[in-house]
Amino acid sequence: MAIIARTGNEAMAEAMRQINPDVVAAYPITPATEVVMIFASFVADGLVSTEYIPVESEHSAMSACVGASAAGGRVMTATSSQGLALMYEILPIASALRLPIIISEVNRALSGPINIHCDHSDTMAARDFGWIQIFSEDAQEAYDNVLQCLKIAEKVKLPAMATTDGFIISHCMSKIETLEDDEVKKFVGEYSPTLPLLDIKEPKTFGLLDLQDYYFEHKMPVVEAMKEAKKVILEVGKEFGEKYGREYGFFEKYRLDDAEVAIVALGSTAGTAKVVVDDLRDKGVKAGLLKLRVFRPFPAEELAEVLAPLKAVAIMDRSDSYNTQGGPLYTEIRSALFDLAKKPKLINYIYGLGGRDIGLEEINSIYTDLASAEKLAAVNYLGVRE
């Protein structure tokens, strides 16, 4: 193990170097560009044996990833925002073909207006394509999640994206602990594709046309694989903890067990919220935090169980669904709690769009609000000027 200073982008690129995939096809886009640049320098310096394809667009990046993964290679890419959006068309094709492609995704607001800063609208819009989605609070988690995503994806044969928050994590230096190259090699193991296209002795056809009689059937294995992913994510997170001291589950409970009010957040905001929780605890407020790590598959039962005893919970969405009923995280958690006999009051905060700062004060105000949650509107837009 080594303790080093790395930005989120450097941490993800480092994980990719240690994985040494067969193929990386990538295109630059702020704020994920550095992942591609750093990886390209690894290629140029002979530090990886990867075939690197500097494609002419993210659409081609994902298309080439599908080709390379179908061929039988271990395949990764990195992107953000518009880049991920350009990949959207191909994402459900990758999951239907059951290709364990990995994206190092750096969360950034979708245009328009064009904005290069963090929110989760890019990743959230990709939530229904049969991809595993794992969020990271900091550079350490970004590194750990890239490694774990690969292992999870290859076990359940679904593609996966490990995400960090643009600029907040991607460009901020912090202390991280990395594994030795050999450890990573052992952890991810040798890749053995299920049905490689390049098996010329037993040729097969991939990506067929389904009429009304087969399309539905072809979607069901993706549903099953997602169920399987729930088990595998926990197994891999546990193994990671046993081996390297950092265990991962679907979420992290921070001072939640005896809490009366709590916030649920994804990514870097959880780090800020922890500071607020500590401060409130010092003042005697029973505040807690649930940092959700895994958004797809969605751990509904597990969330319901830990949130049930609370009095009021604020669900923090860094994107809007524009359904007029709240952000995607809120609606899914609301649905997860629906069948509970006794449930907390849920309040939705949509915040931080386009990189709008969320600081200690704002988060503190949410905990204050939760004390009289009955008076609050269900959906609130935090920090926007009228």
């Binding site: 239907a96 073909l97 059951r98 290709l99 044969k157 299920t194 049905l195 037993e202 040729p203 097969k204 056809t205 991939f206 990506g207 067929l208 389904d210 009689d213 087969y214 539905f216 059937e217 072809h218 069901m220 294995p221």
Partner: protein, 96 residues
């Protein structure tokens, strides 16, 4: 493959083994049927190389027949046949 497969019975991912279309009949599309005259045939392979349905049967460099299970009766083979005397080695006739 007349019975529709359930999702648990499907091949992995979105795949199928090669060449299964062989089992699908398209011969019933025909309104015209190619008739091959072996005695006129010069085995030039022009019908074979230009058949869209891979339905000219060949063996050891010679034509041996027509695969009527798949032939759609387009008539390319008869049109392309270069034999003139005593007549083309393939002609088209109406299906019954």
């Amino acid at each position: 493959m007349s019975k529709k497969l359930g999702w648990k019975e499907l091949p992995f991912g979105d795949s199928i083994k090669a060449g299964t279309a062989e089992q699908f009949e398209t011969g019933d599309w025909r309104s015209l049927k190619p008739i091959w005259y072996a005695d006129r045939c010069i085995h030039c392979m022009r019908c074979w190389i230009n058949c869209p349905d891979s339905s000219i049967e060949v063996k050891d460099g010679k034509m041996t027949g027509i695969d009527l299970k798949h032939c759609k009766g387009c008539g390319i083979c008869a049109f392309e046949c270069p034999v003139k005397k005593p007549g083309k080695a393939i002609t088209m006739e109406a299906e019954r």
